[in-house]
């Protein structure tokens, strides 16, 4: 249940961005975050944490939109690049383990939609 902690960190980051907007928005409509495939985040738990932590706040009723980033890798042995399927980091071309991750660990706010 680390989704509550992650949601708390999301709210801190979001608030810093939101409070810096001029002129002050009339409200928040949505926030979109990107989650890399390797993160073990349960979407329903994160949505539940969002609903609980934003209730009765300025963000109450705003939508949390989750976008998932697939894992991509580079094989240091044969230079293959492409989508990989965790948990296996084995090159599909040369079959050698050790594919280096180039995408899949993301966890960031991509955009917000404000009411004006």
């Amino acid at each position: 249940m680390h989704e509550f902690s992650i949601c708390g960190l999301l709210l801190k980051a979001l608030t810093e961005e939101y409070d810096a907007i001029e002129p002050a928005p009339a409200g928040l409509k949505s926030v979109t975050i990107v989650i890399g495939e390797l993160h073990q985040i349960v979407p329903d738990y994160l949505q539940g944490a969002w609903a609980a932590l934003t209730a009765d706040t300025d963000y109450g009723g705003a939508e949390l939109i989750l976008e998932f980033q697939a894992s991509h890798g580079i094989c240091p042995a044969c230079d293959w690049t492409g989508t990989i399927s965790p948990p296996l980091f084995v090159c599909p071309t040369c079959k050698i383990p050790g594919v280096e991750l180039s995408a899949g660990k993301e966890l960031f706010i991509r955009k917000i939609e404000i009411k004006t």
Partner: protein
């Protein structure tokens, strides 16, 4: 009502990262290595620390930050072997975060330490998500567990700088496929060094200790 879209691209874990970065600065100033032991409840993390206490004290001065949901029982075990220890109670949280660890570090006599070992809350999922400012996460997996755990918890084994296979003295009595486990670890993280350890029998600790000393230097 009209709406307006604003692109942000901001790291979501930033508030935790601020404290992790402060910890890295503090550790660099004091020249102290910090590792973060992560494994399921009962994996043998505290026993590993007890084993390290017996062997490591001659080579490196170390202290322990003991993370648990409740009780000070593990910290008492560590104190009994003469190693400085602070208990961090997460109060129900499934992991330690950087801010708590940073404050706990300030209570240690870092001037006279070489190594701080953080024993995270027993859990293979949540602690892997959080940077606490450590130099290395260490995955601890006992042979009394499933040999396929590296595949089930890939983030931990991807993030780790080393893996300890603990309770090796139980291997003759449990259906743990050691070669398969090593293969799974390599498939998830080909560069991960693996140390086979029995803390109770004081076997296999030397290799892990040498690796820690190399990491420190």
């Amino acid at each position: 009502m009209t709406t307006k879209e604003i692109k942000i691209y901001r790291d979501l874990m930033g508030a935790n990262e601020v404290w992790a970065a402060k910890t890295r600065v503090l550790l660099a100033q004091k020249r102290v290595l910090m590792i973060n032991l992560i494994g399921s409840p009962g994996a043998g993390k505290t026993s590993l620390l007890e084993g390290m206490g017996v062997q490591l004290d001659k080579k490196m001065k170390f202290a322990v930050l003991e993370g648990d949901v409740e009780t000070t029982r593990d910290a008492e075990r560590i104190r009994e072997i003469g190693v400085p220890v602070s208990q961090l109670l997460s109060g129900g949280a499934c992991h330690l975060e950087a801010k708590l660890v940073h404050y706990a570090l300030q209570d240690l006599d870092l001037e006279h330490l070489d190594l701080v070992v953080v024993e995270n809350v027993g859990n293979m999922v949540c602690p892997a998500e959080f940077d606490i400012g450590e130099h290395a996460k260490i995955a601890v997996l006992s042979v009394a567990e499933g040999d396929d755990k590296p595949l089930k918890y890939p983030l931990l084994f991807q993030q780790a700088k080393a893996a300890v296979l603990s309770k090796m003295d139980l291997l003759p009595y449990v259906p743990f496929d050691l070669p398969a486990c090593r293969k799974y670890i390599q498939q998830v993280n080909a560069k991960l060094p693996v140390f086979e350890v029995s803390a109770l029998q004081q076997e296999g600790l030397g290799g892990f200790m040498r690796w820690l000393c190399e990491l420190k230097s």
